[in-house]
Symmetry: C2
Subunit: 385 residues, 2 copies
Amino acid sequence: MAARRATRQISVGGVKIGGRNNPVVVQSMTKSDTRDVARTVAEIKGAEAEGCEIIRSAVPDMAAADALVEIKRQISIPLIADIHFHHELALASIKNGVDGLRLNPGNIRDADKVREVVRAAQRARISIRIGVNFGSLPPVGKIGASGGRRVVDGVNELPTIAEAMLSGRPDAYTVVDHMVATALWEISILEALDFDDIKISLKAFDVPTTVESYRRLATLVPYPFHLGITESGTVRTGSIRSAVGLGVLLYEGIGDTIRVSLAGDCREEVKTGFEILKSLNLRNKGTTLVACPSCGRADIDVLRLTAKVDELLKGRATPIKVAVMGCEVNGPGEAKDADVGIAGGNGRAVIFRKGAKARVVPEAEMLEALMSEVEKAEEALKARA
Amino acid sequence: MAARRATRQISVGGVKIGGRNNPVVVQSMTKSDTRDVARTVAEIKGAEAEGCEIIRSAVPDMAAADALVEIKRQISIPLIADIHFHHELALASIKNGVDGLRLNPGNIRDADKVREVVRAAQRARISIRIGVNFGSLPPVGKIGASGGRRVVDGVNELPTIAEAMLSGRPDAYTVVDHMVATALWEISILEALDFDDIKISLKAFDVPTTVESYRRLATLVPYPFHLGITESGTVRTGSIRSAVGLGVLLYEGIGDTIRVSLAGDCREEVKTGFEILKSLNLRNKGTTLVACPSCGRADIDVLRLTAKVDELLKGRATPIKVAVMGCEVNGPGEAKDADVGIAGGNGRAVIFRKGAKARVVPEAEMLEALMSEVEKAEEALKARA
């Protein structure tokens, strides 16, 4: 697995993003009407309980911007205002205490208005995410003027839009080129105002488009990246699509914060986010369940046992690895790797602790015995910490 | 995204695996007692209905081997017998008509018995998967004799176990080294018998261990790979872990067939498998749902609408892309990319067909209108095919 890409460190409230040693941060976005403070706060508290580290809310009008004061007062994690088109909503959100903005300067149009927002962000010491989305890319002509060319530190690798269009091979200008050129154009607007407290996202529904866009931009700018696959689907399918896309990038060391966009509860977005990071050992949160998929070799109902253990382990915060095995072939080996393992069969179960047989108990007592060993392992881990 | 790794083509029943142009094949494994023919067949039929292309069943004893005759008679997809330790079970499975074996020659021990199985496989023209699993790796000493060294075509890159252990830096011999060395050792046993109708898996629960093992072996042998993350977890967490691990490898062009190991129903394994492949455009099966995650900007209940659309689209086989959007920002853009899209708000909904506004309908009629456009899109696709 590749080392993390070295990026500039920025902050959103107290949460550091980027740099080499900060963890990859999990964030989410509220789905209720931001003007409905009670529902929005309830959503945020739910996400917080799952470990969400930054939350974002849409600010489509002034009433929503006004609601941020009270929302901010009632929550503990940093709040980002998601703004489109209207600079006065950005100014109001900053005044009302948000910890960050998600805003594409290119869609505010008027240079004076952009300058006003950037100056206010500088005074408030808050960062801005530029969020390029496949679904809302500007027309090629619009970014043609700045050319999407060169932005930082003499980097000058991407052809200008004009060059690509005039090369006689307009087909050579791909969606990925346009995603990256759009990001460079948006970045150039902020940099021209001496603002570089920036993070970037480049989201598409198509995974290869997303991956290639991030890969390319990673070679061109030093800013931290917010990763996401846009409109990825339901909790079931969107989690899989997001895991593939974010997984490929994170494995290459690309990505400083992630948001999994699911047509479902914020809590599910956060859970999936952490599962993705845990699978690459990038975060360590709560129990990790190693679960035998069962087969015709098992002589215990492993699937039912696993479901029960999964239920019992829910919400436990200590990062230990628990293995539920039904198999003489892989059971002992996998149990050896786990902090606590159970391998059942023939009316009894063996409980392992780090590979050592801890107890052999009758099947009827195995759940209780397992959980008692889980608690001991948790105590041991806490004592070491 | 990388081009598919060129591998030797093998067959399991009528299903071709490997080569450059065969699709990545989705397989699963039954969880019921193989001797219970009715339950095992029911499981297989369920998996088949989800698109499962190859099924595997454990054969832990002779009664299970005997059951294969009747199971085989009742199913339509190729059947692989999963064997450990006992060569007579492999021989019986071949006699009873299986289309492939999963068997590690190294754990059969006796060379004559291995030869007997290999000759029977050759006569029956069936392939063998060597399945190396982290949970059941042989002791280092056991494969030390053959050295895990060189196997195919003069490749000689991996140090022998002995060299690594004697180098004074035994720590330099990693789990990945041992996974790969074990695979090479197992392969060498079959190759010594002139058998190369082989595919390989190298599964661990740890994603980086799995990825690095496959990556390394990909440079050393020409055989197709069966990908999997072992004991990856419940349907929820295991799908995410598997998507990350398999996604990274498939993005690099590595992988010819996949099995997602979940502590849940076979059908879930197959669904997750196809979702992983669809997210990388490697397979094209059924509807793909682009789903807005909703935010405070939506003035329609997008999540409820998405859940309803998801339900209505279930089981539809035609590969079309349907977008459910609630947002003026990304809605029209994403709908443009979809075969059919719906973007709702303010009591009405716009239905798109490939970016063109097809209809504007009152909110009460939007589901019916959407599904009627979905059916038209399916017809159009079928007509083109």
